[in-house]
Amino acid sequence: MNSNHPHRAPRAADKTEEGARIEIAGLTKRYLTPKGETFTAIQDVTVNVEAGQFCSIVGPTGCGKSTTLAQVSGLERPSAGSVSVGGSLVEGITNGVSYMFQADALFPWKSVLSNVMMGPILLGMPKREATDLARDWLRRVGLAGFEDRYPHQLSGGMRKRVAMAAALINNPRILLMDEPFGALDVQTKAIMQNELLKLWEELRPSVLFITHDLDEAVALSDKVVIMTTSPGSVKDVFDIDLPRPRGNVQEIRHEERFLELQGHIWESLKDEVTRAYARTAGAA
């Protein structure tokens, strides 16, 4: 259906087998608490994401999922262990990475069009070209005609679409998503998941996708990583062998293999969630 080629960003990201591979090895992150003690957020996390793979991370709240992404993006430095993207060590901001946050990270003072244009502009693309590219991307996420609106004039789902266009416009080799659809209602969420899958299949970045929604993880991913309660480390890794393209996420939810995989993963996650709950309930 979509025959036109996806636009390439000026510095076309290296998406070869090697270029988009994420290797997280023995990653540990400790924070200094205000009291001066150290707090271990994640402990010895090891995950590999192949180029073009869609990998979800699931775990109880506070287990260090966001922390893991922050180390991959280069926004923070690991206390021990390492992250490599495309074979080179992450030291500082990795190029070719896009980040989609749970909270809106749109500029409230910029129009929808200017928000989407930010990526190319920061890479030094001339304004006219960036405008055209952004218009094209708004069309692709179904927001043609909303270019001049401000974010506060959009619904939650529309804002997510803008954020998605803004994250994908640079054609990233790595896409980091931190519970991007967590705040949406069920229907909007399903629509956004389908859109994401469609765009991901066109561009094929490697994806690290954080969620607490098991169905979402199974429906979207090639691989689901389960993390333990804090300090987070990898508990289990499940390969999701559902065929691609997956089609409608709401429909595959009823397939036998889906339910089977979902059941396995829930078995693994259940203990961690109960443990995390017991801990917070005990602390309260």
């Binding site: 993006s73 280069g74 926004l75 901001i93 190029n95 990475v97 896009s98 980040y99 946050f101 909270a103 809106d104 990270a105 500029f107 409230p108 003072w109 910029k110 129009s111 930010m118 990526g119 920061l122 890479l123 401000y150 506060h152 640079n170 980091l176």
Partner: protein
């Protein structure tokens, strides 16, 4: 949707009518509300000014000390027709407005630049912060005397005092504005490859702008105060000089007349700042700016 027949669309039109009626009713209600607000405002002015006039006429309040509206009006007319001992009222007003305006610009510029610098640099703010707090805690009006001793009776010391008063208002707002920047947004542009300067241009400054502009309303009032006080302390021309002169000759009516003139200038500036605010902050959801309009 597209399969609507003709009769179908007619059916849809019918229930629109009560809705239109409700809209008209709502509009006339709003008009009545505006009307009653204005009646209240005028009544309040009549009561205050009329009461003042009445009390002073009856002699319950001594107009020698407190002035009288009718005489304030005569003083105003006199100021504009006969001028003052220091030239026409326009010349004097021009001097004061100039001092306040230049002081406002200077104070705002320095306040914004320093506020953003210290707000985004932890080391700088730790080093300079205590000094700014110390200077802020001294009564700044006193600086006016020092400026006049140092720089004479010209306009410069007035500009300086106005700028100092403006600076602190704008500085603290700019500083706070930078501190309140959404860290998600910063992370977002940093991942996209923004340099520190680009982070400032695209995130820090625009988001601090809300705070800075909110402070400008107060800041202009302070600029006027600074200019007037410095003129009262010592000047060759200006509204402040007229005020201190009138005070020396026990002429409260001229003091009040000057207050009226300054109020008009301040309201005009307020209006311009409001227009600027509206233009720069048009991205904001309307309920917030409405809440500020009170």
């Amino acid at each position: 949707m597209t399969t609507l027949t003709h009769s179908g669309s007619r059916k849809i039109e019918k229930p629109m009518e009560p809705e239109a009626a409700a809209k008209a009713a709502g509009r006339s209600k709003a008009r009545r509300r505006t009307m009653s607000i204005w009646i209240g405002r005028v009544a309040l002015a009549v009561i205050v000014i009329g009461g003042w006039q009445w009390f002073t006429t009856e002699g319950w309040v001594d107009k020698f000390f407190f002035g009288q509206p009718s005489e304030i009006w005569s003083s105003l007319v006199k100021l504009f027709t006969e001028g003052t001992a220091f030239g026409t009222i326009w010349e004097n007003l021009w001097i004061t407005a100039q001092e306040a305006f230049l002081g406002f610009i200077l104070g705002t510029l320095v306040g914004v630049v320093l506020g953003i610098l210290l707000g985004s640099n932890k080391y700088l703010s730790a080093v300079v912060g205590p000094y700014i707090r110390i200077v802020n805690s001294i009564p700044r009006i006193v600086l006016g005397s020092i400026f006049i001793v140092a720089f004479g009776l010209g306009v410069f010391p007035k500009i300086l005092l106005a700028a100092v008063l403006v600076f602190f208002v704008v500085f603290f707002n700019a500083f706070q504005g930078v501190r309140e920047v959404d860290q998600n947004l910063v992370a977002n542009v940093r991942v996209l490859g923004a340099s520190p300067i680009q982070v400032a241009m695209h995130v820090t400054i625009p988001s601090a702008m809300t705070w800075i502009i909110a402070s400008l309303h107060t800041a202009f009032g302070f600029a006027i105060i600074g200019a007037l006080v410095a003129e009262v302390l010592g000047a060759q021309q200006g509204i402040g000089l007229i005020i201190s002169q009138a005070q020396g000759t026990f002429d409260p009516n001229t003091v009040f007349a000057c207050m009226v003139i300054i109020a008009v200038v301040t309201l005009a500036a307020e209006y311009l700042i409001g227009a600027l605010e509206h233009k720069l902050l048009k991205w904001r959801p309307p309920n917030r700016s409405e809440a500020q309009a009170i």
